[in-house]
């Protein structure tokens, strides 16, 4: 099948970019979207042109490396799928597609379709962890976890950190990503002790990194390849508000250990 591609080409973060049109005549419908781009890149290389840069790693929808906009939707038109898992059979012969990078101040474009998502790493480093050293596996029943909490934590933990939520959000908010981590850890007994501090630090960091705020449009939830719910955002707002209201200084005198 034939596919017409308009791809955002940008040399580096300091130069301006523009849409460039390519026609690809030999697309197989069983190819994944990224394989289709591989074909294009081989062609470009053969012609001595610069191949299109896009991020990818696992190509099985679990690492969160891939992702760009296809016709204005992160990861393309299919719901619940990353672009590496999107197949060309979902498009029709002769279809014209627009590919551009995720856009947000906090996600500067590095090259073509590749953006710098290290702001996410810095938010995680600010509080998205549990301060307990891992050791040998503990006895499974020593810490009881409510089934419903385990389920919700698991659903939130499905986030692969691809950044599609930021890309889809009209305000470039990272709320879905940040709240997924807050919910994932906060719902489990191991994460509970740091729940207040985590909410405060991660929300503050997300604000500092220049992400927008949540206007509850539900756009992120609709396009999330892992189906992470905005219920988590409500939990983040709750946790943050509670944490700030009830914050106490740590006692200087006691609690050494």
């Amino acid at each position: 099948m034939k596919i017409i591609l308009n791809i955002w080409r940008q040399k580096n973060s300091s130069s301006p970019g523009k849409m460039v049109r390519y026609e690809l005549g030999n697309v197989n419908e069983h190819m994944s979207f990224l394989e289709m781009l591989d074909v294009l890149n081989e062609e470009l290389t053969r012609k001595g042109e610069e191949p299109v840069t896009f991020e990818h790693d696992c190509r099985e929808g679990i690492c969160g490396s891939c992702g760009f906009m296809i016709n204005g939707i992160p990861h393309g038109p299919e719901r619940g799928t990353t672009v590496c898992q999107l197949h060309m059979r979902h498009f029709h012969d002769g279809e014209e597609l627009w590919l551009e990078p995720f856009r947000a101040k906090a996600f500067p474009v590095l090259k073509d379709l590749m953006v710098d998502r290290s702001a996410f790493d810095r938010i995680i480093a600010a509080g998205g962890y549990i301060s307990i050293n891992t050791g040998s596996a503990p006895e499974a029943n020593s810490i009881p976890v409510k089934k419903q909490c385990a389920d919700r934590a698991m659903d939130a933990a499905a986030c692969i950190g691809c950044g599609a939520c930021v890309a889809a959000c009209p305000n470039a908010s990272a709320s879905l990503f940040v709240s997924a981590k807050i919910a994932h850890l906060g719902l489990l007994p191991q994460g509970e002790p740091e729940r207040d501090r985590r909410a405060m630090r991660m929300v503050l960091k997300m604000t500092e990194e220049g992400f927008g705020y949540c206007t509850n449009t539900g756009e992120c939830e609709a396009i999330c390849p892992k189906g992470v719910k905005i219920e988590n955002i409500a939990m983040m707002h709750r946790d943050f508000t509670r944490a700030v209201a009830l914050f106490r200084e740590e006692s200087k005198a006691g609690g050494a250990g």
Partner: protein, 227 residues
């Protein structure tokens, strides 16, 4: 990142407000007060259908509250002020957060109401100012008689242009509430698979009730049902 130090109440408030979450919570809480006011205002005004005496007595009763009335007005004014301040700051943040726009952007889930919040808000504000000058203080009213609310309403709405502005603004207010009422709950952290679908329904019903109720007043005068 170092330890967080919140030594005074002021520091605590500043820390809260400085974050994107804090500003939204302020919007939601002030919004909820304004929502309840809007409902009460509309229900009170329904007395126009019971005749001049009933409506004017109601107005006299409100005026008679004296200090109580001013307390309510101050709370409302504070809520309007904070709602607008946080909306403005959030809107600036939004512009900042995505400096380069998309060449192509599609939406999958966003409702018309959610998309137009930043437009419906300021227009409703302009309307409120006009509305106060029109029916409360009278400067924008052609034939204002202090204390005779019924007369003021009939005379005011007899002007089709004024009525049209009321109708348009109240439709926008309803659209604002269509997204806003549910959004308030979500922002303060109320989301549960059991109740969220009902809260969304409540939000829509609230918007319809307010919209139809408020639009009915100018329409009733224009069509001569109330005269």
């Amino acid at each position: 990142m170092g330890t967080i130090a919140l030594n005074s109440g002021l520091e605590r408030t500043a820390f809260f407000y400085q974050s994107v979450v804090g500003k939204k919570v302020v919007m939601a809480v002030t919004g909820s007060v304004l929502c309840l006011f809007v409902l009460g205002h509309m229900l009170g005004n329904m007395q126009i259908y019971q005749g001049a005496e009933k409506l004017n007595n109601y107005a006299a009763f409100l005026q008679g509250l004296g200090a109580g009335l001013w307390a309510v007005r101050l709370v409302l004014l504070a809520c309007v002020g904070l709602h607008i301040l946080s909306a403005y700051q959030l809107w600036r943040l939004k512009l900042d957060a995505r400096p380069t726009p998309y060449v192509k952007k599609a939406t999958v889930a966003t409702t018309y109401a959610a998309r137009t919040m930043t437009w419906s808000g300021p227009i409703v504000l302009a309307f409120i100012i006009y509305h106060l000058l029109h029916f409360t203080t009278g400067q924008a009213h052609p034939d204002f008689r202090r204390g005779d609310v019924y007369h003021n309403v009939i005379a005011g709405f007899s002007n089709p242009a004024a009525s049209l502005f009321y109708i348009v603004a109240n439709i926008l207010l309803a659209i604002h509430l269509y997204h806003g009422v549910w959004s308030m709950f979500q922002t303060v952290g109320v989301n549960h698979p059991r109740y969220t679908p009902w809260l969304k329904r409540l939000s829509k019903a609230y918007a319809w009730v307010i919209g139809i109720g408020n639009v009915s007043f100018p329409l009733a005068v224009l069509t001569g049902i109330v005269k």
